[in-house]
Symmetry: C2
Subunit: 124 residues, 2 copies
Amino acid sequence: MQTISNKSIHDGKSPFPLSQDALALIADRFRVLGEPMRLKLIAALKDGERNVSELIADTGAQQANVSRHLRTLTQAGILSRRKSGLNVYYFISDPTIFELCEHVCGSIQKRLTQQAISISQKKH
Amino acid sequence: MQTISNKSIHDGKSPFPLSQDALALIADRFRVLGEPMRLKLIAALKDGERNVSELIADTGAQQANVSRHLRTLTQAGILSRRKSGLNVYYFISDPTIFELCEHVCGSIQKRLTQQAISISQKKH
DNA sequence: CGTTAATATTACTATATAGTCATATACGTA
DNA sequence: TACGTATATGACTATATAGTAATATTAACG
């Protein structure tokens, strides 16, 4: 785990006072979400916990691959795990992730809509 | 640019009805934000447009690297460009990006706070 | 025109990581 | 204890991309 220093970018004159370390932390969070398979796993957990076998079935991915992505998401603090006998159940431990995804969906839709408008305007 | 199909993950029974293509688009957006240098450029543009030379100075990065990241951000619809003589000015074209970053900051702070709490509890 | 300055692009290297197969580990059960 | 099942991990390959140096492009200006 990194620590957050107080050094902000370009000598404290940044209008967005984020240190290099803070930027790296934020980028890490975005990067973890920047894989379709991990988003798929998050989506599969939206309605509650699932064990690994269920997530393999949900996603259609290989067991090793699912396991690795689950580890990444857990280390990022997005998921948590609960063991029950042979099974390991994963669940969303940071529900704010859904707001993030919806936020992104909104901006994508806005962009696609504007592209559609500009394309239709070019036709005239 | 990809198109969004209506196929949702695991045969339409997903609680989060996102197609593979939609997941890829969302992941793309997150991945673009998943680089500290690009976040740094976005931060440098928070208060208004800047030309490339200014952004090079702001970030301390190489000209070619800044130029490439600016292209990535522009293609993602996050920035736009305006030419003025020899200079090219870049500016934020999707201001919702700042809400996204603040959202992520919030969840990171929450996580760090909870880690601090659990660590202090283990001491007792 | 030719020169200079700002930006973009190309070619390259190094690194990170997604996916896969094989194997290890952990746990329940006979 | 031995065995089977669920999950995790190690080793490997393939791919993507960040950073860099060199070069190309574009525009202003003499």
